[in-house]
Symmetry: none
Subunit: 203 residues, 4 copies
DNA sequence: TATGAATGAGTGTTCATTCAT
DNA sequence: AATGAATGAACACTCATTCAT
């Protein structure tokens, strides 16, 4: 009985690993179940035994993507002392994440679309951890006197996260326009953005 | 078999109106030409007489959406004196726009994806006007000593625009999580965001 | 009344000239009525006043194409004395025609497809002139003792015409295979073909 | 919703049989996938499980057509001793083939159009066998002293094949004209053609 | 007479999902 | 439990022909 349970676990792992490969290869827009089963070397029906539908697979994938993002956040903030530096590092790390895993970022945005309305324990869990992490960052910053204490803590971390998303999406989307002003390189832009933002949060 | 004769102007209006209804109903992701012709009560071929392809229809739609957004920006900023107040108003206006026309906002994001690379006069024009508007806002703010002069002007307006996008997308996407803390209403969040941001840009 | 008649003639000429331009530009496979009216600068309904349908336009075009081919035949055979040389020249001229007007040749083949079964005076007329020309060539050759007199004259000219078509179509279709043996150039092939054929018809 | 389960072999046979029926009924020019699935009584998606696209179906069909043609060539030439007789028989056989399977012949021509540039093992194989067969016929004829040794072997077989195509296409296309002279029956014409041609190739 | 706006049946292709084996 | 053959609704787009003006 535990054996079967492990087999089931293994199967799901097998599927999601294949799905990950497919996603990183072709991106969410051209992601198909057929490609997944080919990569996994299993039957099509099997996928639907473990995942109610395609979207459920994507949920598992986005969980992975968010965990990776969170890990990155944790690593880069550890290295800094001052909390405004931590925040700056976090924003930069978010952009770096996009550059390394653009397909993952694409997925995260895709799954955030309102029609998804995901109600899955794993997803909610990692979302919550991400939320807790940024929340904590702001809270600690306020306790240490690095961040404006009049800012609502719960609110601040949403805004922080929003800015991370924004700077990435916008910088990339505006690639074309930026060509006209290519004296402005993207990293400088990210840095300036981080600067303004931390400035605004400071005491 | 040929239907009613209409002036070209009328027909195009009829088509784009139908397209707009479809967009507002189902969103860009489920927008199809078939739905448009059904709404408009016209033949399929007719659409392709007025629009080279589906994307051209979307361009017309996005131009409309951007013009509406820009008008909103212009109106709310006029009412303010101090440039940091203008910026704050702009950010709030952006969010209000999203609440009123969420599908339009979705469309704007959709069309910004690099694979579109739109080369249409109307689109480029309104894009440019939007760009010019935010650029000017920052520039004037710096000249009046309201905005930190060490900020690169060209860069600032990109960041400004990015933040508008961000606060909207994120606040909405996280609706679900916010339910847990619904003591935080979204407007307050937008206000705080605007506050932080203008603080960061100030002298 | 004669004025109107001439106008009608003019209109037809206008249409067919535009059609010719379109054909030579895009070929029969992508030939559309829309392109014709654009080139001609006239209304769509007008075309259907003068031509029952698209195929009738093609008939007029193929007549033009066949007349051009015949003219070529007449010119190159005039220069030769011996009738086997005339035949050889005719075969070579046919290939040259294809090289100069491939789209016309394509059209001729297209219109020869059995489902067309053209019953149009102009087409039958030029077909007949072509037939008469080759018929005469063989007949004279026989009278002068250059061509085997036991060959049925009426039959020979069909065969002659068939070979013209063949050598062209085949040489072109096999371009790819010929690359493998590109020591065999196409002109040499045409020449050899003409040689064999005249040899076979000789006394 | 999924229909009967069949072996892959059976299904492919079922599809290609339906495709064959469609081809023989309406010809290559009006051949559509929709007709095939209707004839086969299967779903549209099923076709695309077995054939990447429409063209791949046509390739399978043309392979069948070419094999049939080659078999005919082999049979009729075996019965003859002298190589010029073999060639004559081959030309006649080609015409007979056309009379029996005109739509197949049409298909063969269609697929030879340069834009196809088929890169499929089966097709290349049968093409090569056909090529080898005619090449060998000429080569042996030369070795036995039946065919003019000064003729380039590689070239001759192209010409031979070209003539086969020609005599068929032309004779049929000119059916209408022949009616005027219907004292000339088509078989006699083919015979005469074969006569002239072998005469030309002889020593 | 001339127009040209309107049509809609077709066209090849995709892919998430089902269910008999 | 695992399969994978089968499905068919969708999709964007074309173009010869019609007919009200």
């Amino acid at each position: 009985m535990p054996g079967k349970r492990e087999t089931a676990e293994t199967r799901k792992l097998q599927i999601i690993s294949a799905a990950e490969l497919v996603l990183l290869e072709v991106g969410i827009e051209r992601f198909t179940v057929d490609q997944v089963i080919e990569k996994a070397g299993i039957g099509k029906g099997t996928v639907y035994k473990y995942y109610r539908n395609k979207d459920q697979m994507l949920v598992d994938l986005v969980v992975k993507a968010l965990e990776l993002l969170l890990t990155g956040f944790q690593e880069v903030t550890e290295e800094k002392e001052h909390h405004l530096d931590k925040i700056k590092a976090l924003i930069q790390s978010c952009y770096a994440y996009y550059q390394t895993y653009p397909k993952y970022f694409e997925l995260i945005s895709y799954m955030e679309r309102p029609e998804f309305d995901i109600d899955e324990a794993n997803y909610l869990a990692v979302s919550h951890r991400l939320q807790a992490f940024t929340h904590n960052l702001v809270l600690e910053g306020q306790q240490k006197g690095h961040i404006n204490p009049s800012l609502d803590t719960a609110m601040s971390h949403y805004i922080l996260w929003a800015c991370c998303v924004a700077v990435v999406e916008f910088v990339e989307a505006k690639k074309k326009l930026l060509k006209d002003h290519h004296e402005i390189d993207r990293h400088a832009m990210v840095d300036t953005f981080a600067e303004v933002f931390t400035q605004g949060m400071g005491v």
